[in-house]
């Protein structure tokens, strides 16, 4: 073959090469011109990452600006599916210590955009975070996300009041009120956290970051800083709260303390309590199970949602009604022989031997039942009803802390309507000493005590410090009546023979009234009764007597005698409240 022939073939090869060149140009035209803008968008999303920056939540303070909560970061490992190489799945499962199958399911949920991070593991410890961070470059698309969560400095103290955070429920996600809240953020789910969520929440920010293929941040392109939520100052007194909680020793019960001249809530306990920190970490299923199955019902908000017979604490209402209606006078006396008979029934006094001849003073101090049977008989149930409701019993107090039970103050009309029967005088006797139909919630008793101590003003209990007082009504009783009652309630605690002697304090002058509410009709020696048949112990108190700064109710379920079980708690709570602010701050240091 000649060299010329070979060289002729080169022309054919040239045509082939030009054809190949044309194919390349067509392909370039297709990619760069026809699909160019689509590829431009992909390349933008390749390098841009939008990260939500949670807003720091407002801090909740007590009335002396002692913080009750702190903001803590909540770390989560997330993955951007579009950047993930599925060959890495086994090693990622190992890194996170999550099952491979479960991990795969989370990553490959089809309904999600592959550019939206998927949560793989939540609530990581600092140790886990640094372990993952160090190996993150081996897993493109793996990021650490941070949510704002809470540490509750008081632990379980006041948990029912402060509440806790949780993930948004499906219902909340659809609620326009939570429109601006990022999907994985924590929101208040109970107590003050829920009540003031909107104030505390703040506005989440955003960061647009340029990242490389390994997910490393190159530079910040755009930043919308988060707006911190507003702090709130509660009317709660930290010292009162924590000392009272300690005194309860986790026995079931409740305490509500109010500021008599405004209705501000100074202390609020429902015992036993729970640790809200567990909720803020995303509560584990078994922990929730054990909380909800606990027979002591730690999740029950006893202060507003449990109702009990008021027992002898109801005698305060009886005394005021008797004096106001003129059926008794300060000096009129009744002879107590340990009980009275009426028709075929006999109504006993708690002191079997009787109190002898007693006036109102001794009847209150020593809690003589017979004296108040007599008052009740003279008043009749409808007049008792009038005074009980004047002091806020028998209806919701209006506290913002949740749905309240109403309690019950009976009258003839009520009995006719619900029981279709006449009122019996015997029932008046029983109700006169706070037994029978009459029932109250701890918060109602605190409002009543507060109204008695402030001269008759019934305030709605409020939770923010400095909130303008909301006067619900004025009991409209004579100042002399109130003064007399307060003087005798002081005697209950401070005079010899007083049933509330345990509450006598060297720090301040406390006035109050004990109550022992029967659980079953027959009274038996409490020593031999199993716990659930023992009486409920009440103590309502206020201090100092001449210029009241705090009024409260204390209830210990099945606590036995109010004087011995509930009164010491009230004393500790009041003494803690009276401490100077510096001492209260020292208490917080001990706690933390």
């Amino acid at each position: 073959m000649s060299i010329e022939k070979s060289q002729g073939k080169v022309r054919i090869i040239g045509y082939i090469l030009v054809a190949g060149f044309a194919i390349i140009l067509v392909r370039l035209w297709q990619l760069q011109v026809l699909q160019g803008s689509a590829f431009r968008r992909i390349s933008e999303s390749n390098r841009l990452r939008v990260i939500g920056v949670p807003a720091p939540r407002g801090i909740i303070f007590d009335r002396n600006r002692i913080p009750l909560v702190k903001n803590v970061p909540y770390f989560c490992a997330s993955l951007i599916p579009s950047e993930f190489n599925s060959a890495n799945l086994p090693s990622l499962a190992k890194l996170l210590n999550v099952g491979e199958a479960e991990l795969g399911n989370r990553i490959h949920r089809t309904e999600q955009s592959p550019f939206t991070p998927v949560r793989l593991k939540e609530g990581l410890s600092i140790k886990e975070v640094s372990y993952i961070e160090a190996r993150r470059s081996d897993f493109p698309g793996l990021i650490i996300e941070i949510e704002a969560s809470r540490g509750y400095l008081l632990g379980s103290t006041g948990a029912h009041l402060i509440g806790y955070l949780g993930k948004m429920t499906p219902k909340q996600s659809n609620d326009p009120e939570f429109r601006d809240v990022p999907p994985n953020a924590f929101v208040g789910q109970w107590g003050v956290e829920k009540l003031f969520d909107k104030t505390l929440r703040g506005v989440a920010g955003q960061k647009v970051i340029e990242v490389d293929a390994l997910g490393r941040e190159i530079r910040l392109l755009l930043e919308k800083p988060p707006v911190k939520g507003e702090d709130i100052t509660l009317s709660i007194d930290f010292a009162l709260q924590s000392e009272a909680e300690k005194a309860f020793q986790a026995r079931p019960g409740a305490l509500v303390a109010l500021k008599p001249d405004t209705g501000e809530i100074l202390g609020y306990i429902s015992s036993p309590s729970f640790d809200p920190n567990k909720f803020a970490k995303g509560i584990a299923f078994d922990e929730w199970e054990s909380l909800s199955k606990d027979t002591h019902l730690p999740m029950l908000n006893r202060a507003i949602q449990s109702q009990y017979p008021p027992g002898s604490t109801f005698k305060i209402i009886m005394a005021i009604a008797g004096l106001e209606e003129g059926v008794i006078t300060d000096s009129s006396k009744v002879d107590c022989r340990g009980g009275i008979s009426y028709g075929k029934w006999r109504f006993g006094c708690w002191r079997k031997g009787g109190h002898g001849s007693v006036s109102l003073h001794r009847a209150l101090v020593e809690s003589c039942d017979v004296y108040f049977y007599d008052v009740g008989k003279r008043l009749g149930i409808d007049r008792i009803y009038k005074y009980a409701t004047k002091f806020g019993l028998g209806k919701e107090t209006g506290t913002p802390l949740g749905v309240e039970r109403r309690g019950l103050i009976p009258n003839t009309k009520w009995k006719m309507e619900t029981k279709k029967a006449q009122w019996f005088i015997g029932e008046t006797f029983v109700n006169s000493i706070g037994q029978g139909y009459v029932s109250v919630t701890p918060v109602q008793m605190a409002v009543m005590m507060s109204a008695v101590s402030n001269g008759g003003k019934v305030y709605r209990p409020t939770i923010l410090k400095g909130a303008s007082p909301e006067l619900v009504m004025n009991a409209d009783v004579k100042p002399e009546t109130i003064e007399t009652i307060k003087e005798y309630l002081k005697g209950v605690v401070n005079e010899s023979g007083g049933t509330g002697g345990v509450a006598k304090s060297a720090v301040t002058v406390i006035g109050g009234k004990t109550g022992t509410a029967q659980v079953v009709g027959l009274r038996k020696d409490s020593k031999f009764l199993s716990e659930k048949f023992r009486d409920h112990a009440w103590f309502v108190a206020f201090a100092p007597v001449d210029k009241p700064e705090v009024a409260m109710s204390v209830l210990v379920e099945h606590g036995g005698h109010g004087g011995s079980t509930a009164a010491p708690i009230a004393k500790k709570a009041i003494e803690a409240f009276m401490l100077p602010v510096e001492k209260k701050r020292e208490l917080t240091n001990v706690q933390n």
Partner: protein, 373 residues
């Protein structure tokens, strides 16, 4: 030897010379842009290394223009033996990179013997074919294959340097076709090829490394797993496509420096270029390559003897195959076989070997008139 002949200057192939320098300078700019490290103080020194290699390459080019290419036919056999020996050494004691043994260390230098071997192979084949008379028949084909091609092919597959092996076999058959192959022999090659394809395919497939298998799967269905094996091709298409008509501008590309594009300064350098310079810039760059190839084909036609013709054809085919396979791969219309773009991709040995090859081409064209010598 370095006596400058007036006619030598007159007939010098300036077009090829200027074209390869232009492409190389564009290459260095693109290497610089591709290896930028956004957000970091220290910058990659690769573009400086490549500039030094450009200077060395220019010296190599001048050296291979300075003597009459006929000399190459005389050293063909010893060079071939030396080249084969180096390939064997690589296999036994070479440095491993990217799952393949391709490099030999010589002090601070690491070089890839297979880069030079391609040129040696072309010289050897040109010498052999130029000595043959008439068309190559079946016996001749088998002789050439077993004497010259078989051993290097096995060695390259073993490294494994599949890209070079494929390129070498394409060059081998194109040069045979250029020389002239008996029709029966062509038919035989085609039949053997078709019959053995399934077997060969099977043997090849099981013999392939995982990354090679993945590349083939990804070529067939790049969307199968966009973040997995199809990643290279997809990110390359994103880079090229996002350049649109006028490009994002020099140093404004993001796919390369942010490492979305793997092999950004080597095999996928065209994608980085196309992202920053767009369709317009790509058209210009491709035109330079077309110019280089067309000038090479013209040199084939004008070579004064058969050795020169075969040599020019082999080198031009080599440039063409590299160009088309590489660009086709970055555009997603050919499988990813991992071969660089001549004069553009980062890599010192390749740049030097390409400049020497260009030097030989220039040499053949410059000395195309037998009268002068």
């Amino acid at each position: 030897m370095f006596k400058i002949d007036r006619r030598l200057v007159q007939n010098f192939d300036w077009l090829t010379f200027v074209t390869v320098i232009a492409i190389s300078v564009i290459g260095i700019m693109t290497v610089y842009s591709a290896t930028r490290q956004p957000g970091e103080a220290s910058q990659s020194p690769l573009f400086i290394k490549q500039s030094i290699w450009l200077v060395i390459g220019l010296l190599g080019l001048i050296a291979f223009v300075s003597f009459d290419y006929i000399w190459l036919s005389r050293i063909a056999v010893p060079a071939y033996v030396a080249g084969l020996s180096l390939l064997i050494i690589v296999l036994v004691s070479g440095k491993t990179g990217m799952g393949a043994q391709r490099w030999i260390s010589l002090g601070p230098l690491a070089f890839q013997p297979s880069e030079f071997f391609k040129l040696i192979f072309i010289i050897m084949l040109s010498q052999y074919l130029s000595l043959l008379r008439g068309v190559v028949d079946i016996v001749g084909l088998l002789k050439i294959f077993f004497v010259i091609a078989f051993l290097p092919f096995v060695l390259l597959v073993k490294q494994p340097d599949l890209g070079t092996a494929i390129v070498v076999s394409i060059i081998f058959f194109s040069m045979l076709l250029t020389k002239g192959l008996q029709r029966k022999a062509v038919v035989l090659v085609v039949i053997i090829g078709l019959v053995s394809l399934p077997f060969l395919g099977n043997i090849m497939w099981t013999g392939l490394k995982d990354y090679q298998k993945n590349r083939l799967i990804a070529f067939i269905d790049p969307e199968a797993d966009p973040s997995g094996i199809g990643y290279h091709i997809n990110q390359s298409k994103v880079a090229i496509g996002s350049g649109e008509i006028l490009g994002k501008g020099f140093l404004n590309g993001t796919q390369g420096p942010f490492r979305f594009l793997p092999e950004r300064h080597t095999d996928f350098i065209f994608a980085v270029f196309a992202e920053e310079w767009g369709f317009a810039g790509s058209l210009g760059l491709l035109s330079l390559y077309l110019l280089l190839i067309m000038q090479g084909l013209d040199t084939v036609r004008k070579a004064k003897d058969e050795f020169g013709m075969m040599l020019a054809a082999g080198i031009t085919f080599m440039f063409s195959v590299y160009f088309f396979v590489n660009i086709g791969m970055t555009l997603g219309i050919m499988p990813v076989v991992g071969i660089p773009l001549p004069f553009m991709s980062y890599g010192g040995t390749a740049l030097l070997s390409n400049f020497i090859s260009a030097g030989v081409l220039i040499n053949i064209r410059t000395r195309r008139f037998s009268l002068f010598y």
